[in-house]
Symmetry: C2
Subunit: 428 residues, 2 copies
């Protein structure tokens, strides 16, 4: 209890540390037993207690709404605008999954896809109309919606075109997020759609819903009434706060596990109908062209899938020794049951532990310590969900669906590690 | 399947809706049985499909990092700076819990407390020193820390001074967040501190750790080694992305459930010692003055607590009828087991369902439908955790701890509802 025992000076004999074999063995004895002593890569050698400038001055004051560190500016979404400045709001902003951890995606980095940009909606002027084959057509102001019973659930939203770059003849040398980042996962809060439909009173012939957005493209999809009555949400909040504009402010539909475009943003109308409406968004696009020239329609759930986010393309391992493999997995059909990871291109596989919580139709994080010997390696992950579905190899997906199946690609992703530590995208 | 069945015009006979009794009864039959027909407050009556300006123009393009809607600008943290412009970084920014839902707090609205402002730390220059009573003193660059095995967990961080305004002689007429918002909850990812301590090798006499920040106040606390080996995290990520500067970028300690100030931000040093260091931050402050003039030291866990966030001070109910009561609860000792809600000032209590997931040392959301008859009412919530601890009435807390116990206040919060619908803070 002697205050003088406080010591502000660093000890003399201090090692700069990369993770030692010993620490990892404690974590994962079964996985790395028999490993030789790990190489200890040396980090930057600045003195820890040199008295950096920020320790000598008064720091910044408080802000009403915080932002990331200026040193994190490179962590940005990957923006794809196929029509360039001619249509700047038509395209996608993909989550930089290579820089993220855990399963929650911060809303500022959440993927988004839009067909005519993000509308600037005044919530006081916006209303949601529920009409068609109902006993009582209803119109909800945002304020009225607030008073309904809400529920909170964590779900991913994946654009059905996510990962389509993996169909290219040569592997795209781009970060993981630029290829697979049209997915993200948030905590959503809203009113179960079932509650609103029960209040309106569905007529016997009510079998489908037309969901329509208030963007100038009036994004529209037909949705089976069974899904609407099951787990669909009229979402008002994302990660604790009101929806962001690009994610559907002030209100969006959320259809857990289904194609992202069906979770219609800026929701202005639900018309109850007896048959699919065949909107432009379910005929001219979001149909899945197969190898035989036919197209699949109404392919709703996103398939079981995974990707290793660290290490991934563009990173360089600091040297032989112990590293952590970390990645995300998901399935629109349910809950991730198992992740296999291979470091030899798929010849042998290891079971990767899943980080809690493992939630249905949500991202699931897996992590596995890996002792890299310094030789060339190929990393793969393979997800299995609780329906028994297994993520296929890329070649198998293409053999079954062809090279133009730009929606619903869920093939296994491979990253090569060179002896230099450099990580690249390969087909393997 | 007839495309012509698509109809862009609204139905003629449409009701503007507040939630009807029918919808709520489906949700909570047991709770509102016997209620008379609900009053249907009328919302803003703008036409839902009038063709708002944003439906006729191309929307905004993509951004690398998204932000809230401009219409959400009023949702800001409540800033308290006791020394004003003399020390703009000394104080707190409190989460606007009255405007939030679910259990995840967006990082931009997460509460933060600092003693000398937010340092602008370059992660390439920052290191973490681990020394003292260890076999091998170690120094970690942020890059080296990245390679260690990580884990992800959702936990609240509460300043031990949270809610101390409830000790004032008269009830403060401020929003819920300005009184109880020095708490927030995030998904944290980092390296278990145990892994680093095991690598350094604790000597037999190692009983405590000094944790020290790199802010210019060098915020410092003594921590029992048992907590460090149990669930302490060296946190690098918050809600999926790297920590924000005000939350400890590039690395902070996280001691789940304990006083927020002990989760030392901008962590630069862990010195392993044999006894508490008695730093300024555990002697001159963060001791709990009791009614008898004595002070309690080293009161680590934050007590079981809850607060109704909706409705809460400053809101006005839209009229008699069905409303949703929503609130948050938490306990540093474990998991929330039960929430009782009263609408008559504590004479009778109802069991409020807990929203999944209910996680240890995390915020837990509870919600309860309430049929308000339009008469004066007093709302209270009372939390019980799995250790059996029950949140006390305010008077009981003061009787036990006195009026100066500005740390660890966990008394029950009361909101009055006037016949006009106006909600105010009351002692009741």
């Amino acid at each position: 209890m002697d205050p003088k025992s406080r010591d502000d000076s660093p000890s003399g004999d201090v090692q700069d540390k990369a993770p030692s074999r010993r620490g990892f063995l404690k974590q994962s004895a079964a996985l790395v037993t028999g490993a030789a002593s790990a190489g200890l890569a040396q980090g930057a050698n600045a003195q820890a207690l040199a008295g950096h400038p920020w320790e000598r001055v008064y720091g910044a004051g408080f802000t009403g709404y915080g932002q990331p560190s200026r040193f994190e500016q490179p962590v940005m979404r990957h923006i794809g605008r196929p029509y360039g400045d001619l249509a700047p709001g038509s395209g996608s902003a993909l989550a930089p999954i290579e820089s993220l951890e855990g399963i929650i995606t911060p809303s500022g980095l959440h993927n988004n896809r839009s067909h005519s940009g993000t509308p600037d909606i005044d919530p006081k002027e916006h209303q949601l109309l529920l009409h068609g084959l109902v006993q009582r057509p209803l119109k909800f102001s945002m304020e009225a919606l607030w008073s309904y019973p809400m529920t909170t659930r964590t779900h991913f939203v994946e654009c059905s075109g996510n990962s389509s770059r993996a169909l290219a003849p040569q592997p795209a040398q781009v970060p993981a997020g630029a290829m697979h980042g049209n997915i993200a996962c948030s905590e959503w809060t809203g009113v179960p759609l079932r509650v609103l439909l029960e209040e309106a009173g569905l007529l016997p012939q009510a079998k489908w819903l037309l969901a329509e957005g208030a963007d100038s493209a009036h994004m529209s999809r037909s949705i089976p009434v069974e899904k609407a009555l099951d787990d669909a949400l009229v979402a008002l909040y994302q990660n604790g706060e009101r929806l962001r504009p690009e994610h559907g402010y002030p209100v969006r539909l959320l259809l857990p596990g289904w194609e992202g475009n069906m979770s219609v943003k800026w929701l202005r109308r639900l018309k109850i109908v007896s048959a699919p409406i065949m909107t432009k968004d379910e005929t001219s696009r979001y149909t899945d062209l197969q190898g035989d020239g036919k197209s699949l329609m109404f392919t709703y759930p996103m398939e079981v899938k995974s990707v290793i986010t660290h290490p991934s393309h563009g990173m360089t391992l600091r040297g032989a020794g112990l590293h952590q493999i970390s990645g995300i997995a998901w399935s629109g059909n349910g809950t991730i049951k198992k992740i296999d990871v291979s470091t030899d291109g798929g010849r042998t596989w290891m079971d990767a532990p899943l980080a809690a919580p493992v939630l249905p139709r949500a991202l699931t994080r897996f992590r596995l310590p890996w002792k890299w010997e310094g030789a060339a390696a190929v990393l793969k992950s393979r997800a299995t969900d609780d329906s028994g579905a297994v993520q296929p190899e890329r070649e198998k997906f293409i053999a079954e669906h062809g090279n133009n199946a730009v929606f619903h690609f869920n093939g296994i992703q491979a990253w090569s590690v060179a002896p230099s530590g450099e990580v690249k995208h390969v087909y393997a």
